[in-house]
Symmetry: C2
Subunit: 349 residues, 2 copies
């Protein structure tokens, strides 16, 4: 099994109110690169910031890294186009970051990214991939893609209050700018990506198609952004079994409907509750309050951990909570004083 | 502990007779990228060839990968400038591949590479790094650097017959083209690199300096190329303890003198014998005949394995031999028919 974190940026995240409030948009650009470094090394190595929301909710990368430290699974970072450099080891796709989805083309190089990710997915010798993502603004582009494909658009948010009306308005403008109506990209996933997608959706869907074509099992580790990636895979014509793992915070989000999307897209959905209500720590409390919810493959990492619990080895949720605190304390100890809590967005936007 | 494989190319490898005989220089360009993929994934993913010498000696990447499959240590690939792309996950330094050392500047961007590698080394949170290399032609540039620094020049070769006279002649021409005499770059490691080095030496020495500066222990996993890297570190003024691990094939090479170099550079040298004489298999026989000897951190991987044997867990040299055959068979099974045995150089050139 290999855990593939796909990272990228879209200008869509700069739209006011789309991502967590109080953001400094410039610092937010570092989130995917910082997440990649936290997953790979346990802390940022080049990124100047630890992604933490204004209210103190740390990036879900903390949870995924904690699980990785307990389970020692292999991870790879797939760079779909980031605004800021990273010294995480990466496999880098062609092209650049994503444009604002209200531009005519949100991902001008969607075909090149999709094709390169597909080839990469075909080339991997693994039996199974767990695919994760980090891209601020990504639930809005997910809604864009689902709308263009004519699928249900019940996307979630990293914000406690999902700004659904704003997202719908932005998506409507994006479709219009691309000359598309709802459902016009049915069966044309690359067109949907180009018009209203983002680089990470292009990478995740291409990677998944390639991996499934070569007989590798794929689990999409994430929330409704991964539902959108799955929709792209299905609209490409791939009917192979496909799994999704997410957190209970996503499944409990009444503004979204990850189960409905999973049913519509024939996904085998696993929901894992990390039992953060059993703890009282700033690394976990914000999730209980409805922030962040998912991202950086948190749900996928939790499912791996739960699998290990089932199989017998002595890894418990209490072990996870303890390891999360270890990672969190390490990040806070390393954070420079002039960047106490930034960037303000979490990873699922 | 993290195993860092540094990859790169130098035009120096194209000089007739410097690297393994019978080479197709174009295919040889793929060796570092292929080695990175074998270490990372267990087989080439994008590189079109499995690096095998004309006589059937497979790349030492097979041994390092086999050890990694047994010990499950983390690895990172540091790309110092390759001629061919790779889909191994990489941390990529600025600049390009190395020029021929008979040009005025062998590594025009030596300072940028060294500095970026140093910063990266400082940023890593690991307690210990094992640093490995793969660059065809690398023992010639190692001799160049040692000569420029005024250190002993007793370098080894991947060839059974070390072409020392040719190397000395090439190095002399290289120094002359750079306006340097023997020892002229004493205390000026970046000047030595720029004049007669290669990208991998710039990366390994910069990484090592940065890691040692931040309190990380470093073990240079390799033969006399790593002696040259250590010389660069010492001439930078770093006196911290520094270890080197290599194979018995290097230590037994009477055309070279890795022990003398280790003494001169105050290195704690560990030599490991992989006991290939106990087997009879094409994946290992060529080493016994004096080919390849080292590369892709083979000596470092063997030392890690031996450490594990000492510590108790049930990993034996027989386990290693079996795993080498598993990796070798996988590579042969995957090799396309039109590339049965290429490129012809091994990784230590």
């Amino acid at each position: 099994m290999k855990f593939v974190l796909t990272i990228g940026n879209t200008e869509t995240a700069r739209i006011d109110g789309i991502s967590a409030a109080g953001a400094n948009p410039d610092l937010m650009l570092h989130t995917p690169s910082a997440d990649a470094e936290i997953l790979s090394y346990g802390r940022p190595t080049q990124a100047p910031v630890v992604p933490v929301s204004p209210t103190g909710c740390p990036t879900p990368a903390v949870v995924s890294r904690a699980a990785r430290e307990l389970l020692e699974f292999e991870s790879v970072v797939l760079n779909a186009g980031t605004a800021k450099p990273t010294t995480a080891p990466t496999v880098t796709l062609p092209g650049s970051t994503g444009q604002e989805i209200r531009e005519a083309r949100a991902v001008p190089d969607a075909a090149a990214k999709f094709d390169a990710a597909r080839t990469y997915g075909q080339s991997l010798p693994d039996d199974e991939l767990v695919v994760a993502e980090t891209i601020p603004g990504g639930t809005t582009t997910a809604m864009g893609v689902l709308t263009a494909l004519g699928e249900p658009t019940a996307v979630s948010s990293s914000l406690p209050e999902n700004p659904l009306e704003l997202k719908r308005s932005v998506v409507a403008d994006g479709l219009q700018a691309s000359g598309l109506a709802e459902g016009d990209a049915d069966g044309e996933p690359v067109n949907a990506l180009r018009a209203v997608g983002d680089p990470v959706l292009a990478a995740v869907s291409g990677l998944t198609v390639g991996a499934l074509e070569s007989g590798t099992d794929v689990t999409l580790g994430g929330g409704t952004q991964m539902s959108a990636a799955a929709a792209l895979v299905r609209h490409y014509g791939v009917e192979a079994p496909l799994s999704q793992t997410t957190t209970s915070f996503i499944a409990d989000d009444t503004s979204a409907n990850v189960r409905k999307l999973a049913d519509a897209l024939d996904l085998d959905l696993t929901v894992t509750n990390p039992e953060f209500t059993r703890t009282d720590h700033p690394a976990m409390d914000a999730y209980v309050r409805g922030e962040a919810k998912e991202g950086v493959g948190m749900g996928g990492a939790l499912a791996l951990l739960t699998g290990k619990i089932t199989d017998g080895p002595a890894v418990t949720m209490a072990d996870l909570h303890e390891q999360i605190i270890t990672v969190y304390d390490r990040l806070l100890a390393d954070a420079p004083d002039d960047h106490p809590a930034a960037p303000p967005d979490s990873n699922i936007a």
